[in-house]
Symmetry: C2
Subunit: 196 residues, 2 copies
Amino acid sequence: MDLTEIQPLSDRKQEILQTATRLFSEKGFLASTMRDLAKLLKIQPPSLYSHYESKDEILWEIAVRCAKIFNDRVLPIASVEDTIEGRLRSMIREHAVCILDNQEAAAIFFHEWEHLVPARHEWYSNFISMYERVFADLITEGIEEGSFRKVPSKFTTSMLLSGIAWIHRWYRPDGSMNVEVIGDNIVEFIMAGLKK
Amino acid sequence: MDLTEIQPLSDRKQEILQTATRLFSEKGFLASTMRDLAKLLKIQPPSLYSHYESKDEILWEIAVRCAKIFNDRVLPIASVEDTIEGRLRSMIREHAVCILDNQEAAAIFFHEWEHLVPARHEWYSNFISMYERVFADLITEGIEEGSFRKVPSKFTTSMLLSGIAWIHRWYRPDGSMNVEVIGDNIVEFIMAGLKK
DNA sequence: TAATTTGCCTAACACACGTTCGTTTCAACT
DNA sequence: AGTTGAAACGAACGTGTGTTAGGCAAATTA
């Protein structure tokens, strides 16, 4: 599986995927049934199999598209021309913005992929590891360079990404804080914890 | 429901609860079956009902005991005699230590309680809100007093508690970092993010 | 116009789930 | 020795699950 291989979907498939994303993120993958999904789409349950061959495939299609978003928008920032601190700031910010922009899909990126069938689960697990490693490596560089405090970088990465992750459970678009403000707050808080 | 009402269990009930805690925290509540649990205990599935009246009751017994741990060990620190910063430091530290000391139960405290039956779910949801509010109030006080940066306290509380929460997925007791070191790192990182 | 594809339908299957029932075993107490 | 109570058993029930089979009607293509 390669993220560049992802192909555009027919309108109907996209509609189903979007509805499934909302359903899975609200109730969780296991608690969501094909009957639930069909009801939301106002079709009969078996009709879903004209589009996707299994419940797992639906989760997979969501998960892999979700991975692509973070992959394409966040990771490239790591090798942009800027200071280490500048790059990390931008990455954290973009990571947070990605979550806020794709709040429903984010639940799949962080939690529901755990229920993928073994082969797909393994692929996803590796992707997440790689994703986190990019952050951790940047932190390590920053420590060696002397601009960050001497923190255990892998450990700190897990902590800060987990801290950010749960906005998707917490954030309601109608609240007083907008995406910009939240992004700023997160970045400032975390960078204060890192900087010397 | 009142946390002071919790009564000690018979040896066998405790054994079952302990096994269930491990099972639920590894596979998740929904993915765990009564047959799985029975197998681990080397009894037949229906035998479980000699001890607990439902799967939900088992989750509830775990959840409520878990709440008691955090309630008894972390919350009292909020009203100890110390500076605001000192109290918050101790609370964060104790919170982290509680997770590390009860790693399997922690999964229930943070995630699996979501699957409780509505009435119990509501109780637990309120408990968590109260628990987080104690942290948030302390941060608010610290801001008013002038010792903390002006962060949105409720938002920041969610972020830092979520950041800490995921140690339970990350931490393996055989690793190089022990509980003390991890606790220190968390406290330092977070306090750096808060302090002026 | 004929052929094919697309998207949905109804009916139903096989299985796994939480749970109930009635019974049995066996240690502890009277 | 007889009674009681706890803890287990085997069999089975009802329900909900993902999924398959086969068909039908409308849109698309040849």
